[in-house]
Every structure is written in C-alpha cells, then in structure tokens.
Amino acid sequence: MRRGASLREYLRQEAMPNVWCPGCGHGNVMAALTEAFDRTQLDLDTTVVVGGIGCASRMPFFLDTNTMHTTHGRALAFATGIKLARPELTVIVIMGDGDALAIGGNHLIHACRRNIDLTALVLNNEIYGMTGGQAAPTTPQGFRSTTSPLGSIESQFDAVELALAAGATFVARTTTFDFHDMPRLIETALAHPGFALVEVLSQCPTYFGRLNKLGAGRALLDYEKDLTEPIEGITRDDVVGKQPIGVFRQEIRPEYTRRYAALCERARKGAHG
C-alpha cells in the first residue's frame, strides 16, 4: 500500500487546491481511488474518468488521467458513448447522490440494465452540497436541509437496492468511516467486467452535519458507523434498521460491449435480416 507522496503522481497538481470543504469526505474517496489505481497499476493514458455536476463530480479535475466533466446527472450517458466507441478504455464515473439518483436516475438504471463495463462511484452525502444544502432523494426522513427546514417528509432512495433491481452485476456500499478497506473494494470494482456500482457514504459537515446538528469530522464518521452494518457472515436481509454495507452482488453476466461485438460479428456474417 502506498500512501502520501507517492500517490501524488495520480493527481493534477495544477488543479489544486480542490474545491472540497474542510472535513468533507470526498477527498478520502479520491485518496482511496488513487490507491486503487496504484494497486492495479492502471494505465492513466487509457483511463477516462467522467463526472457529472456537483461536489463529488468535481473529482475528475484533480486526477491526472483523461477526464471529462459533463452535465448534471448525465455522466453515465457520456461514459456509455466513450466505452462503446472505444471498449479498450477503462471508464470510471464519479457522481454524487443528487447527480446519480435524482436528475440522473434514469441513466443509472439503464446503465445497470445494459451491464456495460463502467465503474460507477456514487458519493452519497445525503444532501446537495454545491448548491447550498438542499434536500436530496437520499436525505433521510425527518432530516433537515435548506429545502426541508422542518425535516424531510420524503422516503429515501437506496442506491444499492435500485442497482440490484436494475441488473447491475457488481453492487457494493461502503462509508468513509471504512476508509481502510475502500481501496481494495474499488480495486475489485475496477476489475469487474460489467457494470459496477459502489456507493460510498461520505460526510458533508458544511450542510448535512450543521443543519442536522450532527457536528463535523469525527462525529459525522461516527454517524456513518452507527447508520451502517457490515454484512460479513449475514445477508443484507438480516440487517434491520440500518444500511447494510459490503459487496451485495458480484457475478459475471454478458457485458454490453462484448455482446455488441458479437452482434457485429453476426451481422458481418450475414445472420442479420
């Protein structure tokens, strides 16, 4: 495991400082991602990192690879075009919870359904950070935001359940509290030949912590710890009243770009029409 100075080679120094607030969890996720790059000896020249819009989606700016910062919610659509046009590229998609589950929900379920070989990280801080602390589809019922000042009355979206139902072939959830295991988890997701979704609960001290009087820093990591339960030795159905964390599905099914290549082969042989 390499940490610190040696991981700087994966970062764009000229894009620093990053945009994240002190105490935000997103930098930790980026650190884990670069460590996963290092563990897999990823070729930065043939890797593309695509982001949507929001705090999490700013991550591509700071990574020294091919990077694309797209539109709110649509990163997966751009990534699908890149991957289909050049399947040999490694394509990673970084999204926030509003990005992936509100405005981009349609693209998320269809990327899962296609089982296209993308690795999607959803950084879930249960609130809209960049626009100033508004309620997200992940904001827990009763929790405050600037657009739910009396507490949210809506039900929470569960990215893991959604991805499982939509057909993703690798689905996992972790938290920034579980940072130590995160690089290995991302490494596994990167190696998965199909659509991989990793949800990371990440803390927002500026809005979620402050508006809900949960404190910052360590207190928010404790909030994540208390909110979740690892599924080691049990199944996710056994977890009651908490969010299960771990790898929920890891299975090999025909991947989209390979299925497309096979279809082209059939078409060329005249099997078509």
Binding site: R12, A15, D45, T67, T70, G81, A85, R86, L89, L263
Partner: protein, 372 residues
C-alpha cells in the same frame, strides 16, 4: 444507379458515406427510420449503434463517442430536440464535432405527430442557453438530404461544432428516385504530436486516450481545458475565436440555390420542403409574365445576411414562405433595407402549395406598387 428511397433512408446513407461510426438515439416520429437504418447498417461496418433511454442520454453518448474519436450523430424531432439542447450547448462549449438531425413536426409540445413544420429554425440556433457559434443546414429533396447529411458531418469535423440538419416530416417520409454519388469526405485534423498540445481553440482535435491527459469540461475554460469559472476572459477568447473561424469560412459554409433570380422583381426567400412549392410558384408566375425568382437557403445559420440583403434590396418585394409564423421572415426583414418583406406562414400541419405562394407574391407586388 437510381434507387427509389425515402428521405430518412437517404439521411442514413449520407451518414454512412460521411464515415459516421456511432449513432445513439431514441425513437420519435418522423425521424425514427433514420435510427432504424443505422441499426441495420452500422454493425456490418464496424460502427456502433445504441438505442438510449432518452434524448438527453442519446446526445450525451454522441458527445462521449466523439471524444473517443468517432464521427457521431443522433436524429430526433421537436420534443426530443428540445431535450437535447443542454447537450448541444455542451458540445459547443467543448468544441465537439457531432451531427444532430431534427425532422421537424408541428409544435410546440407534442403538437401534431407527425405533420410537417419548420418551427425549429430559431431553436436550432438559440435553443441552448448562452452564446455559441452554430451551423444549421436544410434540404428540400431526397438527394439533398443525402448530400447535406454528408456536408453536416464535413462541417462539424472541420469546425469542431455540433451541426444541425433540419428536415421535416414530409421530406423524411417522401420517396424519390435518386442516384447517390460518392462525395468528398472531411475528417477532423489531429495534432502531429500530443506533447504540449492545447486541446481547445484549435481546429485540431485529439481524442481522449491518445496520449495527452487533459480535461474536457462544460465550465468556462482556457486552451488547456483548465477550468476558469471565475475568470471569464479565456472563455470569451475561445468563444470569439470559434465565431471568427465560422466567419472566415462563410463561403464554404453557405449553401444557396437560386431559381430565376436574375431580373426578379418579386423574390421568394425560403428553404426546406417549402422551397419545392416555391419553385413551382415562380414558374407559374413567370408563365403569366410576373418576374419572380427564388432564393433557397440551404444554410440557415450562420444566416447569409449579406447575400440575402443584396438580393432583397434589389427586389420590389420579398415574400418568405415557411411552415412557421415568421421566423426566417424576421431575419430577412432585418437585412432587406426598404424592400417590403411579407411573411407567409402556416402551422396547421399542411404544406404551403404553389398557388398559396404565388397568390401571396402577387399581393405583395400589388401592395408595393400602390401609392404610399
């Protein structure tokens, strides 16, 4: 060899001729046959066809594929074209070559699925927020549709821009006996080396994953792709440079067709399917001694204001027949000097007939000759 084909098929054949290797789309009448043909043709040619979950995704995938190095396109109609606007702006901001075909139908909203219209002229130019350079082309026959699809790709590759080809429900679905020739094909220039290459503000294009690791962003940025969200100067510099490139290449971009214009006292300025009826109206008027002529705008944007202005100023009266309530008439009026410009619009899903156009022409001439 002549073949009897539909406008939408000619569009797909033009795309393949131009080297299109990626199509992403979402079904919508009257454009769907374009994607159906691409679904048949691309897999046998090593290209990619994908049916996306909506038009936003289609346009996103097209831009992603273009950045992966593919010549990419989508095809849609009014409601889908509206949904694509954000990403057309993104393509302009990121200097992404791509082609969008909009087969127009009556709007707004669901309107009349699917009767012909020409109501997306202004949307094709201004539909996305902010300022941007734009190229918008038209066609008035099945053969034109083929040629202008190739031209849309060529101009998008040459100028690193999203180029829009406006068709309409009638043109998309009508069949004509045509011979489709091989045409010159242009492809985006690549830099000699990725080292030190500035990926923006240059006609040269370097796809992602080809040795230079840079940032593509819809945020205001400089030539290196580095975001400049708090300093507007680099963004404005790039935007003005993109406008200047189009201005400098105006002759190449501007496609016009003139019909009996030489001594025309009565001039029709029109485009698309309406130009066909307009030409018939001109011949009808000439037969009875009215000196009428017609200018067909096959490039709507950048609007060829100098040519239109010069022709309009020479004329006694100008009539602008179009299947909307005066979108191009507004542009013609702005450059016509003292010449009266009469809009002739229709938005009920019917075409303008030659008789309608001829009658409007006669009325305009009479009005022009009557004492003030």
């Amino acid at each position: 060899m002549d073949q009897l084909i539909q406008g939408n098929e000619a569009c797909a054949l033009g795309a393949v001729m131009a080297g299109c290797s990626f199509f992403a789309g979402y079904p919508i009448s009257p454009s769907s046959e374009i994607m159906e043909w691409m679904a048949r043709m691309l897999p046998t040619r090593g290209g990619v066809f994908v049916q996306m979950e909506d038009e936003l995704a289609s346009m996103g995938a097209v831009i992603g594929a273009s950045w992966a190095g593919a010549k990419a396109m989508t095809a849609t109609s009014g409601p889908g074209f509206s949904l694509m606007q954000e990403h057309i702006g993104y393509a302009a901001m990121t200097e992404t070559p791509c082609v969008i075909v909009d087969s127009q139908r009556v709007g707004p909203s669901t309107g009349m699925p699917t009767m012909p219209a020409q109501g997306d002229v202004m949307q094709a130019r201004w539909g996305s927020h902010g300022d941007r350079p734009a190229i918008v082309l038209t066609a008035s026959s099945v053969r034109d549709t083929y040629e202008m699809t190739v031209e849309a790709f060529n101009l998008s590759e040459l100028h690193r821009l999203p180029v829009v080809l406006l068709l309409d429900a009638t043109l998309s679905h009508m069949r004509e006996n045509v011979d489709l020739p091989e045409l010159p094909v242009l492809s985006r220039a690549h830099p000699a080396s990725p080292d030190g290459f500035a990926p923006f503000g240059s006609p040269e294009f370097l796809p992602l994953g080809r040795g230079a690791r840079f940032m593509v962003t819809g945020l205001s940025h400089d030539e290196s792709g580095h975001q400049q969200a708090s300093d507007g100067a680099p963004g404005e510099r790039l935007l003005r440079r993109a406008f200047a490139r189009l201005e400098a290449d105006a002759e190449r971009i501007t496609h016009l067709r003139m019909h009996r214009l030489e001594d025309a006292e009565l001039v029709f300025v029109t485009y698309g399917i309406t130009a066909r009826a307009g030409r018939a109206a001109v011949d009808e008027l000439r037969d009875v001694g009215v000196s009428a002529g017609l200018l067909e705008l096959m490039t709507l944007w950048p609007f060829p204001e100098r040519v239109v202005g010069a022709i309009a100023e020479r004329a006694g009266a100008v009539v602008v027949p179009e299947l909307n309530l005066g979108q191009v008439a507004l542009l013609v009026r702005a450059v016509a000097g003292d010449t009266p410009v009469v809009p002739l619009g229709r938005v009920d899903g019917s075409l303008l007939a030659p008789d309608d156009i001829a009658a409007a022409g006669r009325t305009a001439l009479v009005a022009d000759r009557s004492p003030a």
